[in-house]
Symmetry: C2
Subunit: 348 residues, 2 copies
């Protein structure tokens, strides 16, 4: 595949993540000859900004992928489920941001800093992990390599942008309603999100965990390629627009001092360590917004177990948690010459 | 002590917690003959609402406690440190909401639902625990009695009201500034709290934990009266006005199923279980505001260890976390006939 002729499609181009994907392609000077914006019939004809000009959004159909090399999907699970196989059939490699294909054995689930090798065996559909999982595994992987992680207890502090543009609007309008002595109206979330904390992200499952929490459990194992890593998660939505924060407690097989962990993470790809409590330096959602890095700080020894650490992990959920990770996968497909679909029947 | 002649002083009556204390005394029809409002010279002369009328705030001095039976302090650590001994010397029992006396061996640290027996040995100063600790131990105690808690990993989601009225004002004004395209001004907190999460409550200590986090570690052990309970904490301020939430992971010696834990907590004093995920019922900060109970929900098995549970604990940090707990202690002192100071030299 000559880069000069590379055609990239962004599916769901009008959504919060879709727009960020176009912005990320632009900012990173992604080597595409042509970028196509696709969305549902409802959004077709609208225009989205790209590279100083605008793209006219085209309707997503089964035939949209002829001549397209890479399709980055961010249009919800059911759209991905339906249309990604048509892309793969047409020889177009899908990088899918929904949860539809993540646990499918035919699909690698990839964070470029963690398991780039899994791209080698793709069958046309590559899954982008859940936002809260991505930033966590970026921080876990170098520590796992150094000391083998046995158990993770994580509690998240997730931004509304993870739910999409409607949720961003809802937080803003609820704040305005409250400040004008009006009753806030919950539509996107079951309850008021303004000035509240909702221990409820995605649907509840039979084990009383939410789907979001179980994504962190299962996706971590698949990405890290190690079934011995045990994760228990509590996923919480808080009134923050951009940037997920995570309180991560880990137990390792080998001892790691906070200083050792800090040194390892400082060297690790995709990570910026912000950890100087005396100077009040630690990661924060508002500082992570618009940044590519996963920020790690508040690294300290957990003295309740022999080999324990606590840390605070923050990233822009729309960038590293979604758009950037997907674009990084696309870049790596080009670099490693992994475009094209060898067997176009796998998902048929 | 005849209840007809009982005199109660509220020290720090103009602050957020002080006002809530007066409201709580009023709402619970506290059997006081007279309530005195005390504060620093700066606030003396101002009026605070109480029982349909107003109290004129008097200046706090070394002589303020003559003829006073109970003094509930909520005026900061240095005020408590200086003035509580004068109260005790005058035979007035202090219930102190600051951190000044909590770890002092001469002072019981009491949550009425957890360790009422510790009131028996008071020496004139009784400490009210930290807000985030109170609600946690209310939930932990019945589980500890049933199955012995070995380890707790807790991450908090704390409201700005815990910092006081100035922080409540700061969150509000920062939101208004941001919605008017102005740069928000942090004064109370080191960084913007609006639409952010700050992993920093109280000062940082030498071990890189915050004082707030270590309060949860040490106070839990003292209140529960069991040094074998190990707690590791991450304390986080979020943009919520009232109500602290906590993600609490526990490891017990004996197995407890979520159903057993739910049944135990349902019977326990001071707790309301809100735990029906299918009906989207779980505790939330906005629902806990103004309530006396500690709310527990999201109770589920942590399958990463043999005997593990996750739960979500929410309470009004100004009520159960401060004012209510202090007033409950005062009520118990009357009920159990524990007023008066036997040895007025202990703190001299």
């Amino acid at each position: 595949m000559s880069k000069e002729k590379l055609v990239v499609a962004v599916v769901g181009a009008t959504g919060a993540v879709g727009r960020e994907m176009l912005k990320t392609l632009e900012q990173r000077a992604f080597p595409a000859h042509k970028v196509i914006a696709l969305a549902s019939a409802r959004s077709a004809g609208t225009r989205v900004p790209f590279n100083g000009t605008e793209l006219t959004v085209q309707e997503l159909t089964e035939e949209s992928f002829e001549g397209v090399d890479i399709a980055i999907f961010s249009a919800g699970g059911s759209t991905s489920e339906k249309f990604a196989p048509f892309a793969a059939k047409a020889g177009c490699v899908v990088v899918d941001n929904s949860s539809a294909w993540r646990m499918d054995k035919r699909c690698p689930l990839v964070v470029p800093e963690v398991n780039p090798q899994d791209l080698e065996w793709h069958n046309g559909i590559i899954a982008n992990p859940n936002c809260s999982t991505i930033q966590m595994v970026v921080a876990l992987k170098p520590l796992h390599d150094a000391a083998k992680i046995k158990r993770v207890v994580v509690s998240t502090y997730q931004a509304v942008s993870g739910t999409g543009q409607k949720a961003i609007d809802e937080l803003e309008s609820q704040v305005r309603q409250l400040f004008n002595m009006q009753q806030p109206e919950p539509k996107v979330y079951p309850y008021q999100i303004a000035f509240n904390a909702l221990p409820h992200i995605d649907v509840f499952l039979d084990n009383d965990y939410t789907k979001e929490e179980m994504k962190m459990v299962h996706e971590t194992v698949k990405i890290m390629g190690d079934e011995s890593i045990k994760v228990t998660a509590t996923a919480v939505r808080i009134p923050v627009f951009y940037g997920h924060s995570e309180s991560v407690n880990i137990e390792t097989e080998k001892k790691l001092t906070p200083a050792q962990a800090r040194a390892i993470l400082t060297q690790a790809p995709g990570i910026t360590v912000l950890d100087n409590p005396k100077e009040k330096i630690y990661p924060m959602a508002i500082e992570a917004t618009g940044e590519d890095a996963t920020f790690v700080g508040r690294i300290r020894e957990d003295e309740t177990i022999e080999n324990g650490l606590n840390m605070w992990v923050v990233a822009d959920n729309i960038r590293k948690g979604a758009a950037l990770n997907a674009v990084q996968i696309a870049e790596m497909l080009i670099e490693r010459d992994l475009l094209g679909v060898k067997d176009t029947t796998v998902f048929q």
